[in-house]
Symmetry: C2
Amino acid sequence: MYKNQRNLMSEKVSSRKQQVRAEDVARHAGVSRVSVSRTFTPGASVSAATRAKVLKSAEILGYRVNRLASSLNRSESGIVALIAAEIDTPHRSAMIAELSDKLQAAGKVTMLINTSGYEERVKDALLQAISFRTEAAIILSGAPDPSLADTCFSNGMKLVLINREEDFPGSLQIGPDNRAAGKTALKALLRAGCKRIALANSANATWSILERQKGFVDAADEAGVEVLSEVGGLTSYQAGLELGTALLDREDRPDGIFCTTDLIACGVIDAARQRFGLRTPDDLSVIGFDDIAQAEWEGYDLTTFAQPTDQIIEKCLEWCTTEQPETETVKLPAKFVWRNSVQKARIPLK
Amino acid sequence: MYKNQRNLMSEKVSSRKQQVRAEDVARHAGVSRVSVSRTFTPGASVSAATRAKVLKSAEILGYRVNRLASSLNRSESGIVALIAAEIDTPHRSAMIAELSDKLQAAGKVTMLINTSGYEERVKDALLQAISFRTEAAIILSGAPDPSLADTCFSNGMKLVLINREEDFPGSLQIGPDNRAAGKTALKALLRAGCKRIALANSANATWSILERQKGFVDAADEAGVEVLSEVGGLTSYQAGLELGTALLDREDRPDGIFCTTDLIACGVIDAARQRFGLRTPDDLSVIGFDDIAQAEWEGYDLTTFAQPTDQIIEKCLEWCTTEQPETETVKLPAKFVWRNSVQKARIPLK
DNA sequence: CTGTTAGCGCGTTCAA
DNA sequence: TTGAACGCGCTAACAG
């Protein structure tokens, strides 16, 4: 007999993991198992008396609804996958902190999938999300394999790509307007009176970072300004140090540098200060991107662009809870944050 | 009739979310549903021929085993909960990055629960973990309600407390030996020839941070050294700025400061440099704790203690995969990382 | 408002 | 090796 196997076996002998079930609570409370279920289902009709009995018994037995089982039944897992690499990076971790917080507030549960390492992991991550019948997957880094689009869609899984534009039907693609920011950065350096303008970028820049670079370079072309371009290393503080050192070592030393990320900018500022004895903004103007916590630190006081994090997340959640959303691309303006790493002339740009 | 409802209803009319099931694959491959299940169960016996057919059909239909369902059946969810606050903080995010990476490598899935905000959320987080029949919960910040111990235990959920000692039966309590580190810090400052020694700590320090403080102060008492103690603010860079300013403003300005975290240390160093024109290590020796990425930045070059992260995580995973682990408390030595924020005398301490 | 019944998708027996 | 039957814990639908 299967039916009573569990109850017949001694607890210690059982190989199955024990847990308190609705049936246990029902027995304890002297009601039917369904009444227990109803007590924990918002909007279900149970009399106050039964409800009270159930709650009391549940409390005593330490009962919690098994969401694995209820998800299976209602085909709504309540889980949202966050797929990201380098999650210990300032901007990325801030994004994850905000996202997980807001997801919880919306009653969702977040499953974090770390894809640091090889690119292939993004595909695996997505497959894992599908396995868990995740309601949505929010991809913060890397590109998903388009061949998975159908599988996602046929499992009713929403997809959001942050900071990346990809041909992935049915997804929301959202991020800051990187090109516009690059353009603004150039204008700001020009207005600050910079004569020799440079760009510092990493060699393994992502799509969105390259967009910033393009915006900057294009604007320079339009303005007829030459850009000293230094590209190398990873997107990190260390790269910034090296890029800064290389730039400041030049005979035609730049006096205004746009760094595609704040981490790079911090490295550049430290290279200037520690290795060349130069100070921002007096000797050198520096602009970054992301507005990480360190940008505000007194040793950097970095003028930068704040990612429209709140708006991105708001739109994300709205989209994830929409029934059958259409493919959509959203570009939000990055806010220019004036601090004190750019020479005088604090003229607001537009 | 329930049985065929799903197939009878037009896909568009159905309110249930559609998904590819093992049964669909079985039909497509012309085998029984059980064969499909076996194909995806490691170690099950299926003939190569059936297996091939199943895999092909699964590929075509985009089938993925529903882990919600399989978890329910095998009562092993494969999910591990990570419960943490302030996950955008350097040390915390590094910890989460490492943990999630290693968990994945061990075949587990991580559920991230953000408890920033009010303390009560730790309890909710644990309840949520229980609901999802998480195999283990790793608590990185805050203290769980001991009343939940039974519920955790009766659901077979393992519990790990990192950096906190609490009366929570059945759990693993693990972290660095904070007292010993505090002691080492004092010795290092003395050997560096510091005459006026100070401590900078936040006003809302956690248990483990207070331990560092105690270790430092106790060692000072033993050595008969007076400690200028400045306590205030949150455990943050901003607090470090203020604490540093307060300390350096004193008439008996300290020449050696132990900061209970690296973030505070960075603030103190910036206060010294930006507000008083003092440099480390020439005018001031500073020691931190955590060895965050910024400690290595050239502008700080901070002497600090590295958390034994790898060992903590290793032990964590080992413990989580043990059948019925006993309550255990583990203290691991924090590694003293010499950089250049402490005056000369680089004498390794033991 | 309550209890009975059916089924969510899967893995695991048991008997062939 | 394969298929039939059962149950994991739960909720939705049905009937009273």
